[in-house]
Symmetry: C2
Subunit: 353 residues, 2 copies
C-alpha cells in the first residue's frame, strides 16, 4: 500500500515521541511492503513562531491531502500564564479540529497487566478496566458564540448542539458498542441543560435501530464519581465536548498508564492520531519522554485509517513485549529497573518487531 | 441561645438521616442550654406530591425566617428517567438556591484515619487529604438563557458570569484560604471559555488584597486528573457552578467517606446545611442509611451559622468515637463488624455526647 501521512510533531516533546513512532511505522511498512510518504507540517507554538499562526493554511492543505495525520503535542509554557493572549497554540488545535471536521474523539482507557500497580487506584478497582470515550469534538461551548457585555463586566459562552451533530456522534457510539460488549452510556446533564435534553432524546430515539445495545443515561457528576469507584463497570461512553474534555482526562489517570494512551479523532475528512499526553515542556530535548502512547496511536492509525489490522497487532505486540521486559522510559520504571531513553525504546521496538 | 432551624427533610432517606441529626442537635442544645425550634417544611418530590411544586412559597418563607436550614436530600426515581418532565424535584433545589441567594457551596473532602482503607485510592495517595471546594451556586450555565431553535432541532444553553458574582465567591475563597494553609486554586477553562477568562482576570486582580495567599490557576481537565493522582496537593479550590458540580462529586468519592461528607451553602440570606449524598431511594424506609454526613452538617451549622464552635467540636468528637468503635451503618462496616441501624447510630451518638 502507498500511504501519505501528514506529520504534525508540534511542540515540546512532540518531535521526540513522533520520531519514534515514525521509526516503528517505517519498520512495519518495510515488513509488510507498504510505502509511507511522511509530509511534515507546522502546528502549535512552533507554527506561531515560524509564521504567526498556530494552524497555517499550508498545514491544513497537507492534512487534507494525506491518508492520515499523526500528531504529537502542542503547547508552550510561554502561553500558559496568559490564556487571553491574542494568538495561542490551542487555537490552532481547535481550528484544526473544526476545519478537518474531526467531530469524534475516540479515547480508550485500558490497563496493562504489568503496569496495574502504577494506578493511583487499588488493584481490585482498576483491574479489567477497558472503556472507550467518544467525545464530540467540534461543537458545544467550545465553538458557540462567546464574548463580553456591559463594558467587559459580564462574560458569556454559549453551548449549542443540533440534532444531526448528536446523531453522527451517537451513531459512532452505537457502532462501536456493537463491536464490543454492546453497552453504551450516554453522559449528560439533562436535569439542568437543554443541550443535554436534546442529546438524551436524540440518543433515545436511536435505540430502536440498535436493539442489541443496552443504553444507560447518566449525569456527568455521577460518571465523574463512578469512574473513580468502578471504572470497569463502563464500556463505551458518548458525551459532548466539554464533559468529554474533563472525563477523558479523569479516565486517563485512573489506569496509571497515561504515558501509553493513544487516541484518534475522526470525522469528515482525514483522521488524526495522537497520544493523549501533552507537550510536557520540562522534558523537552532530554530524550526521556515516553514514546509508547504515540507508537500505539500509530497502531490505531494502521488499523482504523488504513484497515491494516495485522500491522497494528504487530505494533501492539512489540509494545507489550517492551513493557514486560522493562524496556521503558523513566516514568514507567519499577524499583531497581533501568530507565531507557526515548530513542532507545524506539530502537528496541524496531529491533524486536 | 434561641435558635430557629428550618427542617427540609426532603425525599428518600432524607427524613431518616434528618431525624438523627435532629436528635443529636437537640442533645447538644440541651447540654449547652440552647433552645431549638424546628420548623419542618416541604421540598422536592414530596412537595410536588403534596402541593404541586418542588419549592413552595411557604417553604421559602420558613427558610427566610430561620437562623439556618438543615436539609436532607431530594429526588425520586419516578422523575429520574424523564429529565424533561415539566415539574421535577431538582427545579426546587435550583429555585431554592436562587431565592435564598446561596451563591457559595462549601464542600470539604477529608479523610478519617479509621476509614482510609475504604477509599478506592491507595493509602499513600489519599492520606492527608484535606481540601475544600467553594462552588459558585447561583450562576453559570445553570441559570443562563436556554432553549430550542429551528423547530426544536437546535438546543442552546448560555453560561453567564458578571464580575461581582466572581468577586463575592472569590472573596470567600481568599478568606477561607487565610484560615488554612493560604493556598488557593482557581479552576477554570480559560483557554476556551470567555467566562473563565473573566474568572481568571477577576481573581488575579484580587490577589494584591491577599498578599499572603498563594494562588494557582488550573484548567478543569487538569484538576480532574490531579484530584485522582494527588488529592492531598490541594487545599482551597474555587470554581464556577458546573465545574464545581463535577469536581466536587469526583472529590467526594476519593476519600472513601462519601457517607460522611457534610456541606454548607451560604450567601445573601439564611445558610443551608446538607449531606452531600443523595436521596438513595433503594434504602428508603429501611433504617440503614448512614446519618453521619447529616450529623456533621449539623456540626457545620452550629459552628458557621451560630458561631457555636464548642458545640460543633463535641459533635465531631462523638462522631469520631463512633467510627473508632465501629458503631456504623452497613456502608462502613469492616469485615466481621456489625452493621448498626440508622437510628441506632443516632441513639449511640446521643448517649455518648
Ligand atoms: C488545549 C485544550 C483546548 C484542549 C481541549 O480542551 O479540547 C485539550 O484539553 C484537549 O483535551 O485536547
Ligand atoms: C440535582 C442537580 C440539579 C444538582 C446540581 O447539579 O447542582 C446536584 O447534582 C448537586 O450537585 O447538588
Amino acid at each position: 500500500m502507498k500511504l501519505t501521512i501528514a506529520l504534525l510533531a508540534g511542540d515540546g516533546i512532540g518531535p521526540e515521541v513522533i520520531s519514534e513512532a515514525v521509526k516503528v511505522s517505517d519498520a512495519i511498512a518495510q515488513k509488510f511492503n507498504h510505502e509511507i510518504t511522511w509530509t511534515p507540517a507546522l502546528t502549535g507554538a512552533c507554527a506561531i513562531d515560524a509564521v504567526g499562526v498556530p494552524y497555517p493554511d499550508e498545514t491544513h492543505e497537507i492534512c487534507m491531502k494525506a491518508d492520515a495525520v499523526l500528531f504529537g503535542a502542542i503547547g508552550h509554557p510561554k502561553y500558559d500564564n496568559d490564556p487571553t493572549a491574542p494568538v495561542r497554540p490551542e487555537q490552532g488545535l481547535l481550528l484544526m479540529r473544526k476545519k478537518l471536521g474531526l467531530f469524534a474523539n475516540i479515547r480508550p482507557t485500558f490497563t496493562f497487566p504489568s503496569l496495574i500497580d502504577n494506578s493511583p487506584l487499588k488493584r481490585e478497582r482498576i483491574e479489567g478496566t477497558d472503556l472507550v470515550f467518544l467525545r464530540e469534538l467540534t461543537g458545544g461551548i467550545y465553538f458557540g458564540e462567546k464574548g463580553r457585555k456591559d463594558d467587559g463586566e459580564t462574560a458569556f459562552d454559549t453551548c449549542t448542539y443540533t440534532r444531526p451533530e448528536v446523531q453522527r456522534l451517537a451513531k459512532k457510539g452505537f457502532e462501536l458498542a456493537m463491536t464490543r460488549t454492546k453497552k453504551l452510556c450516554c453522559v449528560d446533564k439533562a436535569n439542568v441543560m437543554e443541550t443535554s435534553r436534546l442529546w438524551r432524546e436524540t440518543v433515545q430515539a436511536m435505540e430502536k435501530d440498535y436493539p442489541e445495545v443496552t443504553v444507560s443515561y447518566e449525569f456527568v457528576d455521577a460518571v465523574a464519581m463512578r469512574l473513580v469507584q468502578w471504572p470497569n463497570s463502563y464500556d463505551v461512553l458518548i458525551t459532548e465536548n466539554l464533559f468529554g474534555d474533563i472525563l477523558t482526562d479523569e479516565a486517563s489517570v485512573i489506569s496509571g498508564s497515561m504515558g501509553l494512551m493513544p487516541s484518534a479523532s475522526v470525522g469528515e475528512h482525514t483522521s488524526l492520531y495522537e497520544p493523549i499526553h501533552g507537550s510536557y515542556p520540562q522534558a523537552t530535548g532530554l530524550n526521556i519522554a515516553n514514546p509508547l502512547a504515540t507508537v500505539l496511536s500509530a497502531a490505531m492509525m494502521f488499523e482504523d485509517a488504513f484497515g491494516l489490522k495485522e500491522e497494528a497487532e504487530d505494533i501492539r505486540a512489540v509494545v507489550n513485549k517492551s513493557l514486560e521486559q522493562g524496556i521503558v522510559t523513566e516514568d514507567l520504571v519499577v524499583k531497581g529497573g533501568k530507565a531507557y531513553k526515548t530513542s532507545e525504546v524506539g530502537d528496541w521496538l524496531v529491533a524486536n518487531l
